[in-house]
Symmetry: C2
Subunit: 331 residues, 2 copies
């Protein structure tokens, strides 16, 4: 059943004024709510973004890029940054598509509402002035009738002059009666137009305005949910990528362990048995600090740190280890 | 191809120490990252929750509950609160499942790592002391050989006493030789055990430890993404509910407009035409302020506010409007 405020609420001007004002308050409250929501999203996005930045390696260290767990963390941070981007976009969409639009619309709505209630008040003033006109004509007619009646009484008893005065009064009453009838017709015409044309038209506009306001709220709520919903598949993809990065670590465990070997392997073999040096057989040889390997080192002397045994000049693990390598022993 | 740090990195004790220390640093850095992420989620959840609370009507006004756009907003706020709950749960899961677990695990790992490197250092000390023993035996043997040789030279030239002394020196050299051989055998045995048993066993433990650390990182990254992924379907349902709430407004537009009528309708009809009062026909009647409706009002006088016409005692719109209702006119 269609609804017509002009018919149903013809006498509820003040309440409609309050109701539409409450509607605008609601619109402003909802706009403020979305604005605050957007601010929260933006602040969240900023925090997430700076978290991602804070933990992202300043510049990819060569070493780090060789370890899948470092790469997985870097991938997680990149995805997190993408989440931040999405949240920023959400905040931006909420602001531009809803907050700005609703603010602009609310401004228009206030102007429109003001116009309708001004029209209403003008119509009210018109019918009130028409009523005053009618009242005044009616009183004049009543007074003139009274005076004509009084003159009639006098003329019945006294002279011709009085009779002439009585006729004049009768004429005046007749004139007042015509005025009163005119005012009455005018008022009834005005009143009919007021309640059956002006008020319905104005109220219909108010009703249309209210319908549009509700549609806008509905649209804003839908857009808001839609804007947020658009974020989900992207976030879901980011999480998939994070999961993939995490999952990529374990199957490469063996190669990860090999990376450590590649990075650190010296390429040397562990030392073999120390040989016996028979000083009794070469007793004439002078005592020296040289050891059994001196003949291989061609006289170079290095401090032998037995264990750990670190060499800067690493040999790649694929390079065959020399069977006769530099192996410096000195005590 | 399986990897064996004990074989490949036998001389990289210090580098392995650095590498495993870096691994623990990474673990602590990742834990801190997840902690900060959880804090961000918690702060976001709190903001969202308080936003929802702030805009939720303090107590449901009877009027508000009759308007679907108010109900839709209330539904949106309830769903938003549910989103906050989800984010709080995410923060909680990140903290309990990842931050706490990894913190505990890192503590264990540090203890374990300390043990392995202590074992390594102990083995190193042992082989070094074995080497010193060998060097000392070797030097004594060399010295005794030299002395025996010198005594030999003397005895070749001089007396029997010297010859006896020379034999003694020879015997001493022979003893030293035996000691040296024993030390040499002991050292070679120690060295073989060091590089082929002790170091591989310790390094294997370090390698196992590193494997477990990487597995834990992988697991933590997976759990983190999983915890976040679990939020998505719930958030998606919340958004669906928000969308439904928004969508529910428009199809009820007509009934919404009727609600306004229900709330405000007075139930009265607009006033009809004002009738003519013929004072000329009843001129003897005293002048009064009464109007054409006085006979209906039984003398009650009320101020007639033409328009707007607000009555507190509303008549329900379904109640038939009385054809002869109180309609007070006084001027």
């Amino acid at each position: 059943m269609s609804c017509n405020w002009g018919t149903e609420l013809w006498d509820q001007f003040d309440n409609l004024e309050k109701h539409t004002s409450w509607g605008i308050d609601f619109l402003e409250r909802y706009t403020k709510f979305v604005k605050e929501r957007a601010d929260i999203e933006l602040s969240y996005a900023k925090q997430i973004r700076s978290l991602s930045k804070k933990y992202h390696p300043k510049r990819s260290r060569e070493d780090e890029s060789r370890f899948t767990w470092c790469l997985a963390f870097a991938a997680t941070l990149r995805q997190l940054n993408e989440v931040a981007v999405q949240r920023e976009e959400l905040a931006d969409n909420l602001n531009t598509q809803i907050v700005c639009e609703l603010t602009r619309y609310t401004h228009e709505l206030k102007t429109e509402r003001k116009t309708h209630f001004q029209d209403g008040r003008r119509a009210q003033q018109h019918i009130e002035s028409s009523w005053k006109q009618l009242e005044s004509s009616k009183r004049r007619f009543e007074r003139d009738c009274k005076e004509a009646e009084r003159a009639q009484h006098v003329s019945d008893r006294i002279d011709l002059d009085s009779k002439t005065d009585g006729e004049k009064k009768q004429q005046a009453a007749e004139e007042s009666r015509k005025d009163y009838v005119t005012s009455l017709n005018q008022f009834n015409q005005d009143q009919h137009q007021h309640y059956h044309t002006l008020v319905p038209v104005i109220y219909q506009r108010i009703q249309d305005m209210e319908e549009r306001r509700i549609e806008r709220i509905c649209e804003a709520m839908r857009s808001s949910a839609e804007a947020e919903r658009k974020v989900l598949p992207v976030v879901s993809r980011c999480l998939d990528a994070m999961m993939d990065a995490a999952e990529s670590i374990q199957p490469r465990m063996v190669s990860l362990l090999w990376v450590v070997v590649e990075v650190y392997k010296s390429g040397f073999d562990p030392p073999g048995d120390v040989e016996f040096e028979d000083y009794s057989a070469t007793m004439r040889r002078s005592i020296s600090e040289s050891s059994y390997l001196d003949n291989r080192t061609e006289g170079r002397r290095h401090s032998r740190k037995l264990w750990p045994f670190i060499r800067k000049n690493k040999v790649h693990r694929d390079t065959p280890v020399c069977s006769v390598h530099s192996f410096f022993v000195s005590v």
